[in-house]
Structures are given as C-alpha cells and as structure tokens.
Subunit: 346 residues, 4 copies
C-alpha cells in the first residue's frame, strides 16, 4: 500500500493487554507501532529483553528491538492504545489527552465519566459525539481525547443483546458468566486456585457489567448519554478456560417476540453491521458456542450466541461467548481506533 499508516503507541506494553495489542497490530493495514511505553522499571530497556512474552506467536520483529519509553507526552505517535493497570491509568491517560494524543483506553478509569465515550462501534458509535463535549471539559489541546472500550464481559453481553434490544426492547437481564483466566492478566489467577475448580467471585466485575451496559445501550442526547433503563443482574465466575468468556443469559423483552423473530433480528444485525468479520453469530447446535471451539471465530472478534430457548422466569434464555482479550480488550480498542479513522474523527 502506498498510503501512509497512522503512527500509534502502546501504553503498558509489557502487560497482557499490551502484548495482545502489539500482537494484533502487527501488519495492521492502518496503524504502525512507533512507540511503546511502560512503567519506570522497564523504561529505557529493549522490549524483548524485559517482556515476559505470553503470546503463542513470536514478538513482532518491528517491536522486539524497540526501546521502551515512559508513559509521558513526547511519544512519536498520534494515537495511544492504553493497556495500563487501573492504578496508574487515570492520571497518565488524562495527561496524554491533554497533550493532544488520541487515547484509546482499555482501562476502567474513565469508562463511566460523563463526557468519555464508552464505545463498541457496532453498538453505540453515535456516543462518539461526546468527544466534542470532552474537548471543552478536559481542556484538551486540539485533537486530544479519551475513548474507552468496555470491560471484557460487558462487550460480550452488549453485542449479544444489542439487536434484541433494538428490535424488541429489554426490561430485565440475568446473566451468569464463566470467565477465562486470561481476563485476570498475568500472573493473575494462581493455578492452585483454578485447576479443576470454579471461583464464584471476581472482584468488582458484577458492578462493571451492570453499569457499563446501561451506558452503552443508552441514547446520546444533546451532549449527554441517557442510560438505558434495564434491570441487569450479573453473577460472575472464573473457570478453567484460557480464553473466552461464556455466559448463560436470561432476559425479558419489552415487546414479545417469537424465537424466529429473535433469530431473524440477530441474523439481520450481523448482515448489516458486518465489517470483515461476523459481529454476532448464532449457532443452531444447542451445545454451542463453546470457548475452545468458538472464541477464536472471526480472529477473536466474533461474539457467538446459541441455544435460544424459552425461560420460565423471564422470556428467553441463551448462551453467549466472546474472546475476552481480543473482542473484550485489545481488539475492542483497535476497532474503536479503526472506526474513528474511517469516520475522519482522527
């Protein structure tokens, strides 16, 4: 391609999300990594010498020899992807935005801030209009902004339910998650805790799912988001799966619909919203989707649902699945950046 790629940086480049970002951005048609940054401990060192590389593919040659920089303005790039730990992400991301960087953040810190868009482009791209609001509020230099993507479970839930929400409305959702260990980062979950086990608790996770979903499914109206009014209850479990959050979802629609109508609505959504992968796929086989077989569908970007059946408490129940570190984290950030670029917002 003769077209020049956009220069991007990765904040938190040695962490699990940072590694996945670097892995997914290799040979990306639009973006080129020109800067990587991490904590003071790693700054000044060569990437391949300090990273505990966890991806199955090798470190991209173009990044392996790069010197890690500090997470400060001065990075030679326009967009920074942030995979920073939430303990430090807040201040660093604001600082970068104030200095004119487009911050695409996977951290939880700014997700629920009023003027920060919390975006899944296939669901609520119109929330990006908040950027205008943001510029004033944060007093960013021209072009600086913060765009966030949701918690890994929230993404899967929102994509699964969005077409149904759009077509029939949703009043109540009860979701039980069975989440993969990669969602906890590295070293994350000790093997003694999870091998042959279920941990029925993930700190703060239920709250994130219950609140982020309402923002995402909310309406942009005159510079603000009006949250959706759905009752959502989440119960979160960790299971011995490497990648892929599986969910048992029960939901009540506002307008009653038949199974055929719901499946048709999912199918149409997938057809309309489709970029270069299936955004939402329905499986006829009641035993699908499964993380081992289906998390990597669409290079990890496809959310899968299956086994839609009547529920005797709410209206319907089904299984949903998405790849937590791709669709739910690094890939979610990248697709946000791609969208901004495509719409000329960057």
């Amino acid at each position: 391609m003769s077209k020049q790629k956009i220069k991007v940086g990765v904040l938190g480049c040695t962490g699990a999300v940072g590694q996945k970002l670097i892995s997914l951005l290799e040979d990306h048609p639009l973006f080129e990594i020109t800067a990587i940054a991490a904590s003071e401990n790693s700054a000044g060192k060569i990437y391949k010498d300090v990273v505990n590389w966890l991806e199955a593919k090798d470190i991209p040659a173009s990044v392996a020899g790069m010197t890690i920089q500090k997470c400060l303005p001065g990075l030679d790039c326009k967009i920074v992807f942030s995979g920073l730990d939430s303990k430090v992400a807040g201040e660093i991301e604001q600082n970068m935005a104030l200095h004119g960087y487009v911050v695409i953040s996977n951290s939880k810190n700014h997700r629920m801030v009023d003027e920060v868009p919390l975006v899944i482009p296939e669901v609520n791209a119109e929330h990006l209009q908040l950027i205008q609001k943001q510029s004033g509020q944060f007093k960013c230099k021209e072009g600086g902004m913060i765009i966030t993507n949701p918690n890994c479970s929230t993404v899967v839930l929102c994509v699964s339910l969005f077409p149904i929400y759009k077509c029939f409305g949703l009043s109540k959702v009860v979701v039980t998650t069975m989440q993969a260990i990669s969602g906890a980062g590295y070293p994350g979950v000790p093997s003694l805790d999870i091998l042959g086990n279920v941990i029925p608790y993930i700190s703060e996770e239920e709250g994130k799912i219950e609140t982020e979903t309402l923002k995402i499914l909310g309406k942009y109206d005159s510079g603000a988001i009006k949250f959706a009014s759905i009752k959502i209850s989440a119960m979160c479990n960790r299971v011995a799966v490497k990648d892929g959050h599986t969910m048992s979802i029960s939901f009540e629609t506002e307008r009653k619909a038949s199974k055929e109508e719901i499946l048709k609505c999912i199918e149409e959504y997938n057809r309309e919203v489709k970029v270069d992968f299936d955004v939402l796929r329905y499986f006829d086989n009641p035993a699908r989707p499964q993380p081992l077989l289906d998390a990597a569908k669409g290079k990890g970007m496809t959310v899968s649902v299956g086994n839609l059946r009547e529920c005797s408490v709410l209206d319907w129940k089904m299984t949903a699945l998405g790849h937590n570190t791709i669709r739910g984290a690094a890939g979610a950030a990248i697709i946000n950046a791609e969208y901004l670029l495509r719409k000329g917002l960057v």
Copy 2:
C-alpha cells in the same frame, strides 16, 4: 456392635454410581453389602476382575471377591440400591419392588411417578407417606417399595433453597449450573470436549431441575404431592471440575427478608436438621464455596452456599455447591435408606 446390620444389594454395581455406593457403604454402621448385581455381561464374574474401579480408595475387601449376580429377584438382601442406567432401570426396579425389595433408586425413571416419593430426608421426609399409596398401586408384596432421590443438581438446589422457602416462600428462581464431569458417569465426557472448555448444554438436565424441585418442595396431602408453585428456570453448563456442582442462583421470595434474616434462617435450619454432618453451610467469604475446597465438606454430604447479595432483577443472589456423586447421588440414596430405617419404615 452387637446389632445385626441390614443386608443390602447394589444394582448396577460396576457403574460409576454403583462404585460410589460400594465405596460409601464400606464399614457402614447400619448396612452390609450381601449382593451385587449388574448386566448379563458381568453376571457370573468376580467383581474385581471386571470392574474398572475409579475410586481413589481400593475396592472394599468384602466386595472385591463377590460374584456379580443378575438384576433379578433372588438377591439375598432386604434393600437394593439402584445405580442402574435409566435405559434399564425402570423395569428392573419395578420387578424388584414387586418381589418385596425396598428399592432405593438413583435413576430418573420413577422420580416423577405420582406414588413414588422423591426424597431428600432433610427437606421432604413427609413425602415418604406415599409409600402406603404405592403398595396398593404397584401391588407390591409386603414391604416392597420404590424410593427415589433427585437428580444431582436438584439436590443441591433444593437443600440450598429449602430453609429460605420454608421461612419466606419463593416465587421465582433463576439458576445457572456449572456441573462436574463425574455427573456424566464413565466414560462420560470426552476430555477433548471439556479440557479448558465449557459445554453449555447437558441433555434433559434443565427440565429435571425445573420439575423435580417443584415435587420435592411440594406438600404431601391426602396421599398425593401438591407441587410447589415456583417459577424455576435452569441453565446448565459442564465445566472442567471433577466433583462438585456449583450454581449461581438468583431468587425472589414471597415475603421480603433482610440478609440477616436469611442467614439466620439458614443457620437455624442447619442446626435443627443436623445429623452427623452439616446439611447446609454458609460461607462469609464471597469467593466460597468452591468445588475443589468445599465439595468434600461433611464427607461430601454438606451443601454449601455463600456470597448472598442483593439482586437487581429478583431479590437475592448467591452461590451454591454440592458434591454431585455423593450428596447428589450415592450418598443421597444411602441417607434415604438410613432415614427409612431410623423411622422404622423398613
């Protein structure tokens, strides 16, 4: 002890439930295995020569050398525990009951039959009055009867909810199960299907949970069970756990109660119903119960619950756990037999 033990037989002695029965009945204070029976293929052979013994403890010496018999009347025992496959259990169990045996069955075949008690003694022992009805209906010889215990998941759900149901009533329950592989018997689930995976489907399981629970929590009234009127919805998943079904339960009570009232009700139930083990234990730690740590509590007979918290759709949510092959199968059958004996019903 000078008191003579009751002679018992095990039908389906080579299967997974049969093995667990034989294992749990070793050195039992009330029962002594005097007969073991299985299919025609195994009949006539020595137990230790044909069984693919899966228990961690050795085959009890008293059983190892026994000759396997056919599943027909003629077994030298008063009670027969049935761990038979449902394909054959129906006819065999009826035949044994007709010939005067007390059949304590773990199979699904007779559970929902009107005059057959489906019993968890700590929950609905009064249903055993159906036995009188049964004698007539089945035209059993004196003493012959069929008593069933519930599906492994149903037991855990019923014990978890029973004190709450008794104190406050229940109107709605949404339960998502994460079930152990041992629940599928042997060879059961292929390792390629479950290692590092979740299978969001277990054939017929959701229906069993939804219907059996209503019978168990129902009222005995004039020779029949009046089913409980609770809306129950189950979503069942298989996870890579050896023993112990974990559940995320959301429920709505008829009369509103505070967290303290619910915990007090659970505690009092456990104190009152306690035999020689805790029947229901509450964990303060929100990350408990866990199958690896807690399934074997009370020698596998204790059901554990934890993390009771408010639910934004129904009233409350919590985690529950029970050992599926002990509390949910072999141990459930044995405790039924113990109860019958203690009450002089056998």
Copy 3:
C-alpha cells in the same frame, strides 16, 4: 494459479485425523479434495450431517456438502490420504494401492512392512526409493503405492534427533513422553481419567517409538532399509494437554560434541532443510518449548527443542515438542504427498 490441482481423497473422513486432513487441505496450493470416504455407516450421507466436527475452524464449504463414499476403488482422485482406524486400514489401503491409488497413510498397519517407505521427507526422503520395490511386491497397478508417515511421537523424536544423528551419530536414547489427549482421537481419553491427572501408559506406544525410529533413521541400500543401530528406550505418559507432545530426551552420541557444536548442527539443519516453515527450532529459554505456546509454531509443522544440557548418565539431555495431529499425523501425510509431487514421483 492456472495450474490444475491434483485430485485427492480422504479415507476415514469423519474421524479426528480425517477432519484435520480436511481442515489442512482447505485452500491447499497443490491439492483439491474431490472425494471423501468412511465406513458403511456414514457412506451415502452428506458430510456436514454426520460428522461431529471438532476443529475450531468451520467445515470447509467445499467439503461440507459432499456425499461420503465407501472406502473402495472408484473414488475420483489420484491420491488418497488415509486416516483410517488401524482395525480396517490394512485391507482397505492395500486394495486402494492395488487399484492404482497413491495411498498416503497415517495408520500403523503398513509402517513396518519391508517395502513400504516410512517417511519424514526432511529426514529420510531417500527411503521413497522403496516404492519401486513395492510395485513388484504388491503387484500394484501402475502408479499404485503405499507411503506411510510415522506415529506422532516418533515424528517429533526423529526430527529432534536427526541433525545430531547425522553429525555425531547416536548410540543411546532414553525418551519420556508427555503426550496430548488429541493423540488418542475422539472420543479418546475420558475426561475423568485425565483432568488433573497423568496416565503413565499408552498402549503399544513405546514399541512404536522404539522400532519406527530405527527404520526412519536407517539407510536405504539396494532396495531395503538397513535399520539404525541405536538403543532407544521410551516411557510414554498421557497428560492434560490438548495438542502437542512434549518429550524429555537423554542421548549419547557416537562422536563427542560440545554444546555449541550441537546447536550449530541443529541450526544448520533447519536452514538447509527449510521449506516454507522452520523444521526444527531451538529455544534458548530453558523453560521452552511448551505445548501451549509452541505446538502451533510453523502452523503446527515446526518441531521445537530447548534446554540442551549435560546429562550425567548419557551425554546430553533436552526438551522436544511437536504438534501431534499436524506435524505428527495429518500434516505429516500431506508433506509426504507434497514431496512426492515435487519430485515427480506422483
């Protein structure tokens, strides 16, 4: 490409190896699947309707709708890849060869037959000269032949040791394998047997490794293979890994060599033999290779070794790893066919 592809068939198309063959042959530059065959049970049915598809990627569209045929002459193809069970492979493969098909077999049946080449092209391609011998012996029609690839563990061991054997000779090898569950096919290993466990036994596996290796590392001489004279001892274990056989290898060389010399010999071999993937890769990191990270290297065709260190009993020890269903089975068969084609032997 304007060049026409060679028509190939897959025998045992519904089994695990058959599925992997179909998966790997999708969009293959040289081959096109024009026939699929399986047992009488499946014959006459549409592939997608009967196969229990286990691959993470979808059934290739070109195969999904094909009708399964019987494993008999009459298939419209030149080459047949056989993933048949060894119980039936012997007769069927001979019959196909006699009728002029080039049989590329993954089954054990003909591997140790004198006139059948047991080939890893990067190791002993010259053994293919046995084909000439074979034509006479088997009285095949013109063009009919049987080429076999080794047992999955044997491939990994042979590729790992081959450059060392060539450079320095080998007198003794002790190898302990930790083999993946996919090596046992489907349903294969019951999850109750392997989850959180090691099974220190795989039927016949040790013998296969010990004998096949001697044939493969043997010399073709005047129409026969003179077996290598290495003492090989294998101890085989099954572990809870999905794909990738890991091995701890201890070996004694005939001519003594330094660590640097051995590493150089491995590196040179990889450089010389390299097709479009690394055939043998050495890891500096002593904790590598690992199945989860490295089995898929080179699209599953790269064998990896690491942690070469002195052994106090034999001379050296190291870790080796290869993808058992690709490098050790389906991919091994395909690379054999590719080699035949490239050399004009088909």
Copy 4:
C-alpha cells in the same frame, strides 16, 4: 490418652507447607501444636485472620485462634517444624537449634550440610547418628539439633529405588518427573502458564534430585556420610496436576535381577518397613500409579510404583508416584519427628 503430648511449633505457619503441617498435626497422637510463628508481617495477629487457608478441611479449631509469633527462641515448645522459605530458613533454623530446639526442617538450606542428617526414616534412619556430630559442630545447647527431609521429588525417587538399591545395587538412573503445581507453593505457578500445558523446567530441581539422592543412599561411617556412587540424571517438568509427583524412571542395577526378584524385593521391603501405612506399593496394572487415584494412598504417605518392564538402554524402567506436599514435605517432616521420639532421640 493419659500420656502427655510433645509440644511442637510450626515456623512459616501461613505458607503452604506450614498449613499442611498444621492440617496433618491436628489430632496427632504424639504432638500438640503450642506455638505458631511466621514473618514480622504476620506476627502478633490471629492465625485465622491472616492466613489464606488453602486446605480443603477447615483450620483446626485449636490453631485458628492462636496468635502468630516471631520465628525466634521463646516459643513454648520442644520441637519446631520449619516450613520456612529458603530465603530466611537458614539463619532462623540455626538460631533455633542453638537455643535448644529440635528443628525438623523442610527447607533446602541445611540439607547438604555435612553434619545435618537428610533423612527418610524408612531409608536411612542411621544417618541420624550425625546428630552427635552436629551438637559439637554447631555448639548447640543440649538437645538442639537440625534434622532435614529431602526435596519432594527426591523422597519419591529414594523410596521407590531404595529396596532395589539395597538388594541389587544401582549404577545408573535416568528419571523424568511430571510434578504437581502444589510443589511450587502458593501463589506459585500462574494458571496461564500451566492450564493445558507442560512446563519443562523447574529451577534448581534437577540438581537437588541428583545430589540429595546420593547423600540419602549414602552410608554413615564414623561421623560422616559416604555418598552413594550412582550416576543420576533428572529431567523435571511441571504438569497440570494438583498433588502428586509422577516419575518415569529407568535404572541399571549392579547385580542383574529378574522382574520377579525385583518385585519380591519391593514387597518384602514394604512388609518389613511398614509402620501404619504401606511405605511402597507396587501396582500390577500398567496404567498405575496415577496422581489422581493414588497420590492420597496411605493418607498421602505411600509411595507407589508400577509397570516395571525391561529397558533397552538401562536394565529396567517403571513409573513412580508420591504425594509431594505430604510424603514429600509436611508428612516427611512429621515422620522424622515421630522416629526421633520413638527412638528416644528427643
């Protein structure tokens, strides 16, 4: 019992080995825990408030409410069991011994010190005579001493091989271990590293096995140990098993023996050395021992071997297994203390 129990303390009481010691010492017939100690961070706090209790059974009531003390003289006990981390164990254990405590240590620090016995009572109890040497050397107060037990893998290897060594001599041993995650303590191995994986490396482990074994199988002679002269090579792997180190062992005896002679020698050893559990058990079934089924045999104190068969490189090969945190750590320390007591050495 009217007999008074010996007061014992546990150093490193919050760690994994400390917890196992506390768990195993509950209701011990000879010992009573009267003091628990840990690092400064925990000292002064109540045990149950700070420990991240990992055992399936509850914290023994007698210990749960104890105040944790510092690892200094002043503890009210005669014997201290040390489960301290090796970073601090050296100094602390010496200090305790100098102040008159009998230190039974599971740490590596003093194992290879000349005058410190490295003991498995069923193998080399006579090494305890080193205590006399020690008293002088260390200038301990009367009664102070340090007794160590071996690395978890070394124990299993030594018990497996000891009867064969005693009967026939050993010249060479090649052992590949497949070690459980509990061997790495807590949090230990990250789940992302081991779920569905093998890690072919455990830091320092091979060296410990190769050197400790020679000391243990050595001869006490005039106040010193003459090391055994066996060539031992170990290759160590971590596998996804909770408890139980499995080993593939190949060995060469000095005097040739038949399979029957070896099995008889193992059997006689077990009969002679037997305390209240089988010390070494042979399985006829070639697929045994397995960690899931056999690690807990003899309450975790039985070492199991199986599948003895000829080796084409050395003489014989077999599988061995032992429970790494009981037989290989906490239980090993306790049995050392029991032996000292029984022999009147304490």
